[in-house]
């Protein structure tokens, strides 16, 4: 078992955590395999949609509109939800949300709950908080069950146990469910989970879920899932508590006609996932009669205030950016030290913590832009990454003010060099001489001294060419005639 913390306040900086995880070759194999499979499936079902770009744009506009008038839509949702027989709670932060959920469960005299996979509850560490108050929790999503039985942390937004392979799952289930003869066929493992959970579904009287979408117009909640564990939790218990970030609201019921085309294709590479549930409040004789929603801020209003990084909140948690990211595909999710990993995690996590924690994450990217290209709601993640880097630098300007700071001296020198063509050419010539002892036989620099070493610790640097472009330009044969 790897000791991983996904609390950004305590997690190691990304380069450190990543360097450790990269040594786990099994983990890298598992992550590479899983992300390859999802990407291939996604590419196929996206390619067959001729209107894919229009769907992306429409999805982006729906989410932008929701955020631009978030207060109005939240109030509209609240009003409709209450009218339909539900109770609405507001939580400023994680601790308040935990307290609200515990209060509802105590009032309902519930000592155990069944739970649908929810990133928001992972964000607020709901399980730990409820368990310490004597509530027994049964995770019902297969991947979440794997993590719960193995006391592990999620590593992916959609497939949180993607870092485990079938042999590892077999070993775990066999031990925890007392099934010595279990094989490592995914079908057998799934069947074991089905039998293990069936009894809980029929017995446990309270459930906790997240929300994919809150619909302002109707006061409905939408849950997107595959296994049917979601439907079990949404219909069988008497008490149901949904915990949703305030950004999850969308204006209209019909907005789903766009988002339910883009979300499943982006998330699991399916034209449609097996089950979507949309329901509005309490229906007599059908489903939970004691229905609550907790609207969670926990840093989101702070993200909303910044017009460049506001787009982060457009996210519909499909995880396509994780699967396509060359960094995530090497490190897996745990290196990000947050339940939100990959490119979206790299921009969301530091912002949720008001740039007080997780400041290495905006740098955990090569800025290749693949994440933006696959995003179904067109979040320009590279733009936000660069913007957040600038804010991290601004924040550290105090430290940089020291005249002896290496980075500051380096940047000042670069600025002077770039200001004059003569200095620039001289610097190039000088560098070509100075680099000589560092260039390997293959023409690459693998090690740099001092501050430059931070670059070469994870990358190689190509040596300067024998002739620069400017030198070639000067020496080229002059064109005859034509325009100069």
């Amino acid at each position: 078992m790897t000791l991983v913390t996904l609390d950004p306040r305590k997690a190691k900086p990304f380069p450190k955590a990543a360097a450790e995880l990269l040594r786990d070759t099994q983990l890298r194999k598992n992550v590479a395999h899983a992300t390859d499979v999802i990407q291939r499936k996604r590419a196929a079902v996206v390619a067959e949609k001729e209107d894919w770009q229009a769907l992306r744009s429409a999805g982006a506009e729906i989410r932008k509109e929701a955020l631009r008038h978030l207060d109005t839509y939240l109030e509209q949702f609240e009003q409709q939800f209450i009218q339909a027989g539900g109770h609405v709670h507001w939580a400023e932060d994680a601790v308040e949300a935990q307290r609200i959920v515990l209060g509802i469960l105590r009032e309902a005299q519930a000592t155990e709950i069944i739970k649908i996979k929810s990133m928001t509850t992972a964000e607020i560490e709901l399980n730990q908080s409820l368990e310490s108050n004597g509530i027994r929790i049964y995770e019902t999503d297969l991947a979440e069950l794997i993590l719960q039985l193995g006391a592990e942390q999620p590593s992916h937004i959609i497939a949180p146990a993607l870092h485990k392979n079938r042999q590892q799952v077999r070993e775990l289930f066999s031990r925890e469910m007392h099934l010595p003869d279990l094989t490592d066929e995914p079908a057998a493992l799934t069947e074991a989970a089905r039998l293990y959970l069936r009894e809980k579904f029929l017995k446990v009287k309270a459930a906790v879920c997240g929300a994919n979408f809150l619909i302002a117009e109707t006061g409905s909640i939408c849950i997107v899932e595959s296994e049917g564990n979601g439907r079990m939790c949404l219909t069988l218990p008497d008490t149901l508590i949904a915990i949703a970030g305030i950004e999850k609201v969308i204006p209209h019921f019909s907005d789903l006609e766009v988002l339910l085309q883009t979300l499943p294709r982006s998330a699991t590479g399916e034209r449609m996932n097996p089950y979507n549930s949309v329901w509005t409040g309490v229906t007599p004789g059908d489903g939970p009669q004691n229905l609550h929603v907790v609207l969670l801020d926990n840093g989101r209003s702070h993200v909303l205030a910044d017009e460049i990084s506001r787009q982060t909140l457009q996210c519909i948690r499909c995880a396509a950016c994780l699967n396509t990211c060359p960094v995530f595909r090497q490190t897996g999710g745990h290196a990000y030290g947050s339940v939100y990993s990959g490119p979206i995690g790299a921009i969301l996590t530091p912002q949720l913590y008001r740039l007080e924690h997780a400041l290495s994450l905006p740098y955990a990217s090569s800025l290749c832009g693949a994440c933006y290209e696959v995003c179904p709601v067109k979040i320009n993640i590279p733009e936000v990454l660069v913007y957040l880097r600038s804010r991290v630098v601004d924040r550290n300007r105090g430290k940089l003010a020291s005249v002896f700071n290496q980075e500051r001296i380096g940047m000042k020198m670069m600025a002077r060099i770039f200001l004059s063509p003569q200095r620039f050419e001289a610097a190039q010539r000088m560098a070509r001489v100075l680099e000589k002892p560092l260039v390997g036989k293959d023409g690459w620099i693998h090690w740099l001294p001092g501050l430059g070493g931070q670059w070469t610790v994870a990358r190689d640097l190509e040596a300067f060419p024998a002739q620069t472009f400017r030198e070639w330009w000067q020496s080229r044969p002059k064109a005859k005639g034509g325009r100069q």
Binding site: V37, A58, D71, G228, M232, V278, G285, G287
Partner: protein
């Protein structure tokens, strides 16, 4: 009160932003282009991809075809919503009706014990291979199509639309009803991204398509 605190934070976060009108949400495909026959074929091939089976029936033979499908699959003890037409229910099968009135429904443990459930549907989408239930009298409460291991869904061909936007057009008037989109039997890909059919929801889904012999106006 936290409500005011959160809403005020949101309002002040938005107060400085410029509110230029957003681009109109359009440009994606709203309506289908296929013929009736192609649409039904597309729906069938999608369900086939998901591992569900599709059968056809004429209106006259519906009762017989339902019975045959069930007998062949050895589904002899079936549950159904109380609103399902009597004419669908053949005597060779044991039928139990579930009431939707609060408090009158069968206990969950009993529903789970049946071989399967028979229902109608509200609509279906060819492009995504989805069946939409809004849990009306012929579709039953939500637990009814969830707990049994087998679901036989009776669908009129004209209930199938081609695109998701067309489907949402049809659902507009009933948006606040409980709504369930079912796209194949339950599945998971949580172990090595290998798709496994059948987890907690019904593991087996059959759809019986029923020719458009009946005029639209007499549909439930």
């Amino acid at each position: 009160m936290s409500r005011e605190v959160v809403l005020n934070r949101v309002r002040s976060a938005l107060s400085g932003s410029n509110h230029e009108p957003i681009a109109p949400i359009s440009g994606y495909r709203l309506t289908g282009i296929l013929t009736d026959e192609q649409r039904v074929q597309l729906f069938e091939s999608r369900l086939d991809d998901y591992g569900a089976r599709v059968f056809h029936s004429s209106r006259q033979n519906l009762r017989e075809n339902i019975a045959t499908t069930l007998l062949e699959g050895k589904k002899l003890r079936m549950v159904h919503p109380a609103g399902v037409p009597e004419s669908w229910l053949d005597d060779r099968i044991f039928w139990a009706a579930d009431s939707q009135s609060a408090g009158d429904g069968l206990p969950y443990t009993q529903i789970e014990g049946f071989d399967g459930v028979l229902t109608g549907a509200t609509a279906a989408v060819a492009e995504s291979g989805s069946i939409v239930l809004q849990h009306s009298l012929t579709e039953g409460r939500r637990a009814l199509t969830l707990l049994p291991d087998y679901h036989l869904c009776i669908l009129y061909e004209h209930q199938i639309v081609e695109t998701l936007p067309e489907c949402f057009g049809r659902l507009k008037g009933s948006a606040t009803r409980p709504t369930t989109f079912i796209s194949g039997p339950s599945a998971t890909a949580d172990i090595e991204m290998t798709r496994i059919k059948g987890v907690h929801g019904p593991r087996f889904l059959d759809v019986l398509l029923f020719g458009s012999v009946v005029p639209l106006t007499s549909m439930p």
